[in-house]
């Protein structure tokens, strides 16, 4: 059934509205970051005086650059660990039949729903006692607590989609289970791995609660936490322009990752493997 001209028009209209609604805040942020501190609150969409001084500010103060480094490092390490560990766990869950399999999945999903705010207090005390406060591992570990279950959950769904016969065919063809995984399953699961990677990375990248509570200096403070502590130019000016500039800067790595990997998130990679 081909859409009629009217339907096409309707859909295009709907898409346009969605795009405008989601892009307005982004543009607003960009414009804000290009305003001078004095005119930041003037309410105009287009800056009267274009300036890059906000960007200059945040990069010349050490706080933001170290925060950026921490953010990238911590989010990447957490995500990589989570995806690697979760892929073997998810593979086992998808393939093996063992008692308590459903329970594990249920618990995994339950853990991701646990209110993080309730963990922060105890963790703060514990981290101070064992010396993890304000360190990279001090953030990576709590991040893993939600990154791992989430990865296991999404990945096991992806693994389940891959026909088991493919692996058995590989084994009959002479592959060890590890070879079968590396040469057959992993390539086919790439879209799943990438999707999981992006979801988990974004979660870690955007975390605020743990970051603000478990760090205190530029040793481990990530961008969301650092943003909250930007000093204004004087006691009486809000650092709105700086924050906007920083927000634009931290959005860029995320956009790069998504655009880079988007092409790999193609569905139907297993097409043609099996029929029926």
């Amino acid at each position: 059934m081909k859409p009629t001209a009217q339907q096409k028009f309707g859909w295009s209209g709907a898409f346009a509205v969605i795009i405008v609604v989601s892009l307005v805040p982004v543009f607003w942020l960009i414009m804000l970051s290009l305003k001078t501190p004095a005119s930041a609150t003037d309410g105009a969409f287009i800056p009267h005086h274009w300036t890059l001084s906000n960007y200059h500010d945040i990069f010349s103060a050490g706080l933001f650059t170290s925060a950026l480094r921490n953010s990238i490092g911590i989010a990447l390490i957490s995500t990589a660990l989570a995806v690697v560990i979760a892929s073997s766990a998810a593979y086992a869950i998808a393939r093996l039949d063992f008692p308590g399999k459903r329970a594990i999945l249920a618990v995994a999903l339950g853990v991701t729903m646990f209110p993080q705010i309730s963990l922060v207090g105890p963790l703060y005390n514990l981290w101070r006692q064992i010396g993890l406060f304000d360190t990279w591992p001090g953030l990576i570990i709590p991040y893993l607590t939600f990154a791992l279950p989430l990865s296991i959950y999404t990945l096991s769904a992806f693994f389940r989609e891959i026909p088991w016969e493919l692996e058995q065919a590989a084994e009959v063809d002479g592959a060890t289970p590890f070879q079968a995984f590396m040469k057959i399953i992993a390539p086919l699961a790439t879209p799943g791995l990438v999707t999981t990677f992006i979801i988990v990375f974004l979660l870690c990248w955007n975390d605020f609660i743990f970051a603000i509570s478990l760090t205190s200096s530029n040793a481990a403070q990530t961008v969301p936490a650092a943003l909250a502590q930007f000093p204004g130019a004087s006691q009486f000016t809000q650092p709105i322009g700086d924050i906007a500039a920083a927000a634009v800067v931290v959005t860029i790595p995320v956009m790069i990752i998504v655009i880079l990997f988007q092409r790999r998130i193609v569905s139907g990679l297993t097409a043609g493997a099996v029929k029926g």
Binding site: D97, L166, V172, G174, Q179, I184, L269
Partner: protein
């Protein structure tokens, strides 16, 4: 190449379900063995145990004389064709076929030569660099075959390799598989639930039911001398008619009339296991009926008049259906068979409808009375209690089926 021996093989699944029970099967080197049976009877389970994809609960599996129970699939040197082909979707046809050789560390040149050769045999040369997604069903099936033959393994294992193809392609690929098997002379176990495939392809057929092996034998033997009701009803298409009968001396009393049992039947009955019974189940193959007008010598059979309910013309032959005024045969075995085989195939389910195959020259008309004849030489007698045949071997198997070709090759999948 090697022989395969299954000795008392048993499979119990984790949930306690016994899918294969004490299976004994000797498959000699180069033989084409068919595993056939209704859905869920344990054929795939048996095959997968040979492949090593399923643990063997009990018994011993030998390939080429070596016990294989605890070997990983990769160490058994067998090739398997899966029902859904299981082609590697991210690899080209060439890579799919060469995967096993590459894993085995064969030199590039050798892989290339073997893949090219296999592609030539299977007529896949033009498709070597395409991905499975871009192939037709028949081509995918051939790639799956190609993956098996490039390796020259000890055995081919095939699990319903044709069931995903349409009827025409299935017949075509069936011939292809027979040709390939003959060419390579590789021991083959072929699973199917299609009795036509079984009869046309196999050197020998093993019929299974509910995890239990029923009978093993050459297609002609299973057709002419089924061991029990199940095999009798399963092999042959359309399937055998079953009627209640009574033995009185040399006479067999049938709902169609009384018939003098020919000497050959009497002799086999006396050498059979259950002699001395009176009530029996009589099996009559549709192809052993004929329009009485077309039979010059009606001596060794029974002639009767009946009203033809339905007449189906196949061009070369007629199928006629008629009812026999009798209660349907009551047998637990037969009921199970009806359930197993799908009630539609078994006339005994709905009263005693009988199917007969007549020559196209016949003048019978639907709805009219007709005089039919049944060849009593080919009668089958079964014990109603346990479903076993009451006839012993007659010593000269070759003579027995007068018209096996029709039953064996006549009905293609439609």
């Amino acid at each position: 190449m090697a022989d395969i021996a299954l000795e008392h093989i048993t499979k119990k699944y984790g949930d306690g379900f016994e899918a294969v029970k004490d299976l004994n099967l000797d498959i000699s080197d180069g033989e084409f063995m068919i595993l056939v049976g209704p859905s869920g009877c344990g054929k795939s389970t048996a095959l997968r145990m040979v492949a090593g994809l399923e643990d063997i609960t009990g018994g011993e599996l030998k390939i080429g004389g070596e016990v294989m129970n605890d070997r990983a699939p990769k160490d058994r040197d067998i090739a398997m064709v899966f029902q859904n082909y299981a082609l590697y979707p991210h690899m080209t046809v060439r890579e799919n076929m060469g995967f096993a050789l590459k894993l085995a560390g064969a030199p590039k040149q050798e892989i290339n030569d073997k893949v090219t050769e296999a592609a030539r045999i299977l007529d896949l040369q033009q498709h070597l660099d395409r991905k499975p997604a871009n192939l037709s069903g028949g081509q995918r099936q051939r790639v799956a075959m190609g993956r098996a033959i490039v390796r020259n393994p000890k055995a081919f294992l095939m699990d319903e390799p044709l069931s995903n193809l349409d009827a025409k392609l299935r017949v075509q690929m069936r011939t292809e598989i027979a040709r390939i098997q003959q060419r390579f002379e590789t021991t083959t176990i072929y699973v199917t639930h299609d009795q036509t495939e079984a009869l046309t392809l196999g050197d020998r057929i093993a019929v299974m039911r509910a995890g239990v092996l029923q009978q093993v034998g050459a297609p002609g033997e299973l057709y002419a001398h089924p061991d029990n009701l199940f095999v009798a009803g399963f092999i042959g298409s359309p399937s055998m008619n079953f009627l209640p009968g009574e033995i009185d001396g040399d006479t067999l009393k049938l709902p169609l009339g009384d018939v003098q049992m020919p000497g050959s039947v009497r002799q086999r009955l006396s050498s059979g296991p259950g002699g001395g019974r009176n009530g029996v189940i009589v099996g009559m193959r549709p192809e052993d009926f004929e329009d009485a007008q077309l039979v010059p010598d009606r001596g060794r059979g029974i002639t009767f008049t009946t009203n033809i309910d339905v007449l189906e013309s196949m061009g070369s032959e007629f199928y006629v259906y008629f009812n026999v005024g009798t209660e349907k045969v009551a047998s637990r075995e037969l009921e199970e068979l009806a359930n197993d085989a799908g009630a539609a195939e078994l006339p005994t389910q709905e009263g005693s409808q009988v199917t007969a195959r007549l020559e196209a020259a016949s003048r019978v008309r639907q709805g009219q009375d007709a005089e039919l004849w049944f060849n009593a030489e080919h009668i089958h007698l079964f014990d109603p209690e346990n479903g076993k045949t009451l006839l012993g071997g007659d010593g000269h198997v070759d003579e027995a089926p007068s018209s096996p070709p029709q039953g064996l090759a006549g009905s293609d999948d439609t």
